[in-house]
């Protein structure tokens, strides 16, 4: 993959290496490649204009993702940010490991699901869970970086991440059962959660 040429400007050196990550997160937030392209470009232009606010040596990726996320909320999301419903925070999805420990304890079924289906399942998560999961588990940001980027407490990051992972595992498990990747378990859903 050819990296874009830079004019030796500090901004280029700090920001351009993160275009792939910005584009991936933009795709997951917008769900649309064309919007994702525009969102990344808007983000980069905004970042350049506020470059003086960036403290060299700090996490450029986290800084850029914060701008991207704010740009998305302000300019791209059609509806205003809805507050997280309390029942959403109360979701306690099942621990999928308990369902598969007899048939696929190593979780090989995860890798057998094609990329598009996994990404579709990520996109289907509630937005509050999806953004935390994408930043943590797909882009490798720390709890603290995510908390700063989303302006939420670390405890909230952790609880959303935990629930997002379980919801995603549940969706992938159901897909794997439906497509015969793993056999259906005889016990009805809703038992033996851990």
């Amino acid at each position: 993959m050819a990296e874009p040429t830079t004019a030796g400007r500090p901004f280029d050196a700090e920001a351009l290496p993160h275009l792939d990550a910005l584009y991936r997160v933009a795709l997951r937030l917008t769900g649309d490649p064309t919007q994702a392209e525009d969102l990344v470009q808007d983000t980069m232009l905004k970042a350049y204009r506020s470059w003086r606010q960036y403290r060299p040596g700090t996490n450029a990726k986290g800084w850029l993702l914060t701008i991207l996320r704010n740009t998305f909320i302000n300019d791209y999301r059609r509806r205003k940010l809805e507050p997280v419903a309390t029942d959403l925070e109360a979701i306690e999805p099942h621990a999928i490991y308990r369902r598969v420990e007899d048939v696929d304890p190593e979780g090989t079924f995860f890798s057998q699901i094609v990329d598009e289906k996994v990404l579709e399942a990520v996109d289907a998560l509630p937005p509050e869970f999806r953004e935390v999961l994408v930043l943590s588990d797909m882009e490798g940001l720390s709890y603290a970086e995510i908390a700063e980027s989303l302006a939420i407490p670390v405890g909230t990051v952790k609880s959303r991440l935990f629930r997002g992972r379980r919801l995603l595992q549940t969706a992938l498990y159901q897909y794997a059962v439906e497509t015969g990747i793993i056999p259906a378990r005889e016990a009805p859903m809703g038992q033996s959660d851990g």
């Binding site: 874009p4 830079t6 304890p105």
Partner: protein, 84 residues
Amino acid sequence: MGDSINCREAHARLHDFLKRELTPELAAEVEAHLEHCRPCFREAAFEERFLLMLREKAAGTCCPDRVKARIVAALHAEFQAEDG
């Protein structure tokens, strides 16, 4: 170092452990537990495989070169507007 934590404590720390967010001391306690608790070790391996899969799926998507070129061009237009 002894196995000073039980399955419940190890389980409670598992997600932080896999995300490398524990202090070295707390992580060592989880590691010590996983070394001789096979059920917990297997569950940890399962969760780790899930996280590895997510990283792999993410890495498969890159910003298209066409889009990178467009963004670099837009930035350079911005540079020149500033200089001029």
